[in-house]
């Protein structure tokens, strides 16, 4: 029963959320989060649970998405293909592409596996551009989700209706992926991650274990692809290429690969950052990249790891004694962030001015990037922040260590 509590809570939250964020913007944010959650969880099935770093994970999402898109277009021609079931078509596409690529990639593990997937990612983009009749070339292919047969009067044209399709599939997919962690395949995936050779001496072929995990992961990535096709009503080569694969690696790692639910946090945060920063600045990728690097260096367990590190403190009822230390981190962090953001925005703006743009505004402020003083101010902010953090961070860490004893 306790096991099910989070799932029931998630279902209620999913029912409530669209009413809290009922604007078109809010709904589109939620839809993208759902898709990212499914995608990141399927990615972590490989990385966190199976020890497979897949640099071409978007291939599976992409094939699922393209197949679903073609199904959507067939629905437009009068075929009976209900829009809410398009993710199933996506699943089939993801599965099929995983069977193909996994047949090669899962023969090896670790670095060799990662390099094979990198090669596949390159190769698939080339293939996609080679067959414009199937993949639509540079423009991609589009469809109309409301072309499908209406179900109970719903035509799935509106954002709200799409939200419910996304929410249901996200919930089902997450639940099934979580259930997988409790099966023999799930445990063997962990074993193959930790020590593939020993798995062989326990009667299982490690390459076969990897293949099964990979194919299953492809199925769920395909569901994410189907949802994306519904939500975006367009699929392009960009959805299948290494940039999309890099994005899912980023969000999964930031969320934390050591737990099942970590990637959910990462997906939510990165989509939020993308959308929030995307409207403010062209450089949001720079920030998510910085966040990623900072996480790899200082918090390799991701957000989930940070939270888990506080579980013993919380059980001991000592969370209170950390608050002060953590609050003291904020000024240094804010200063350093302002400095970094200032420098990168100035650099971006300077490039734009050289390209012929006007001085313009940076994050809403009238700042001239060709003058020296903004650069100086940003650099000083950054250095001051770093100096502060250099003092407060070790203190906070020591306080945490003391509290976690």
């Amino acid at each position: 029963m306790k096991r099910w509590a989070p799932w029931i809570a998630a279902a209620f939250a999913a029912l409530l959320l669209p009413h809290l964020f009922a604007s078109g913007f809010g709904l589109s944010l939620l839809n993208r989060m759902g898709i990212a959650i499914v995608f990141a969880l399927s990615f972590n099935m490989l990385l966190g649970q199976g020890g497979m770093l897949d640099f071409g994970h978007a291939i599976m999402l992409g094939f699922g998405g393209f197949l679903a898109m073609h199904a959507m277009r067939l629905a437009g021609l009068g075929w009976f293909i209900p829009t809410p079931l398009l993710p199933l078509v996506g699943a089939a596409g993801g599965l099929a592409s995983a069977l193909l690529t996994g047949w090669i990639a899962t023969r090896r593990d670790r670095t060799a596996f990662a390099m094979i997937t990198l090669g596949l990612a390159e190769l698939v983009v080339a293939v996609v551009l080679m067959f414009p009749s199937v993949f639509g070339g540079e423009e991609g292919i589009n469809g109309d989700r409301s072309d499908g047969p209406a179900i109970l009067g719903f035509d799935f044209g509106s954002q709200m209706q799409v939200y419910h399709v996304v929410a249901v599939w996200t919930w089902i997919s997450a639940l099934l992926m979580w259930r997988t962690t409790l099966t023999p395949l799930g445990r063997l995936a962990n074993a193959v991650r930790d020590n593939p050779e020993r798995v062989g001496f326990l009667g299982y072929d490690p390459a076969r274990v990897r293949f099964r995990v990979y194919v299953l992961s492809g199925l769920f990535a395909g569901i994410a692809g189907g949802l994306q096709a519904i939500n975006d009503e367009i699929m392009t080569s960009g959805n299948i290429g290494s940039e999309a694969s890099g994005a899912v690696l980023l969000m999964t790692f930031i969320g934390g690969i050591g737990t099942f639910w970590g990637p959910i946090l990462g997906a939510v945060l990165i989509v939020l950052l993308q959308v929030a920063l995307g409207t403010l600045t062209d450089a949001w990728q720079l920030y998510s990249g910085l966040l990623f690097v900072a996480m790899v260096v200082w918090a390799p367990g991701g957000l989930a790891g940070i939270l888990l590190a506080h579980a013993p403190v919380m059980r001991a009822g000592r969370l209170g004694q950390l608050v002060g230390h953590y609050l003291r981190l904020i000024p240094g962090f804010a200063l350093a962030l302002a400095g970094v953001a200032g420098l990168s925005e100035l650099a971006f703006r300077l490039e734009a001015i050289r390209g012929g743009a006007s001085t313009g505004r940076i994050m809403g402020l009238a700042i001239d990037a060709t003058a020296a003083w903004p650069w100086l101010v940003a650099a000083v902010l950054f250095l001051a922040g770093a100096a502060l953090l250099n003092r407060t961070f070790p203190q906070a860490r020591a306080a945490w260590q003391a509290a976690a004893q």
Partner: protein, 255 residues
């Protein structure tokens, strides 16, 4: 017990790494139900012999037979399925998995779990009970939820044996199971090995001659890639070739 063709039979086994021949024509015969010790100086090729028998790498020449089946050239997981389990001299566990999960992985295959996603692992009751029993026998029940990578060295060595024996294979190969254990830990491990190999075939590499003479029905001595003597403890104890080739300073222990 003595029917021909049963047990583990190795004939003319050879292994070279590059130009270097490590195993130079090993003959070894272990009857079904026998406890057999393999002893020999460091670098004699004992672990390599185990690796060849268990399919970690292929032999250059020769033949390996398990209960009348030719298993030469089979891969590790096929050999396990033929009923042969092993432990490693260099501890080889699943470091992020708990003690309980390590043991469950050890027993999974022989308790009917395939590479499947349909049934839940907890649904395999006898499997969980077997992991539980093995954990108890190892004295690790209080460490149940601890990740194998965080165990103390001696505990890891105990778990290493546990993972090998948990599946109840009919033939068990243990590579220096008591290495690095204290006196009492060794006694506990020996008692456990004796108990779980009751009615099974055991081949064990062991440096502790006390353990060897205590546990083994027969002993083979491997020196420089060859079996130079094989027989009951008393016979091997008196063998002149063994004394010169291997025992040397340790000879007093035997007399």
């Amino acid at each position: 017990m003595n029917d021909p063709g049963s047990g583990l039979i190795v004939t003319g086994l050879r292994k070279s790494f590059g130009a270097l021949e490590i195993i130079k024509g090993v003959e070894l015969s272990v009857a079904k139900g026998e406890r057999h010790a393999v002893i020999g100086p460091n670098g004699a090729g004992k672990s390599t012999l185990f690796h060849l028998i268990t399919g970690r790498f292929p032999a250059s020449d020769g033949r390996i037979e398990l209960d009348g089946t030719d298993i030469t050239g089979w891969s590790a997981h096929q050999i396990f399925r033929a009923g042969l389990a092993r432990s490693f001299q260099v501890t080889s566990l699943f470091p992020k998995l708990s003690v309980f999960e390590n043991l469950r992985c050890g027993a999974m295959r022989n308790f009917g779990a395939g590479v499947s996603v349909f049934r839940l692992l907890d649904g395999f009751r006898p499997l969980a009970e077997q992991a539980e029993r093995t954990m108890e026998a190892l004295g690790l029940t209080h460490r149940r939820h601890v990740a194998a990578g965080s165990l103390a060295y001696a505990e890891q060595r105990a778990l290493e044996i546990g993972v090998a024996i948990a599946g109840g294979a009919h033939t068990i190969l243990l590579d220096e199971p008591t290495a690095g254990m204290s006196r009492t830990e060794t006694e506990r491990a020996v008692a456990l090995i004796r108990k779980v190999t009751e009615g099974r075939t055991l081949v064990m590499i062991e440096h502790d001659l006390g353990v060897v003479f205590d546990l083994a029905d027969r002993i083979s001595v491997l020196a420089d890639g060859k079996v130079i003597a094989s027989g009951p403890p008393d016979q091997v104890r008196g063998d002149a070739a063994v004394r010169t080739a291997y025992l040397g300073a340790a000879a007093e222990v035997l007399t």
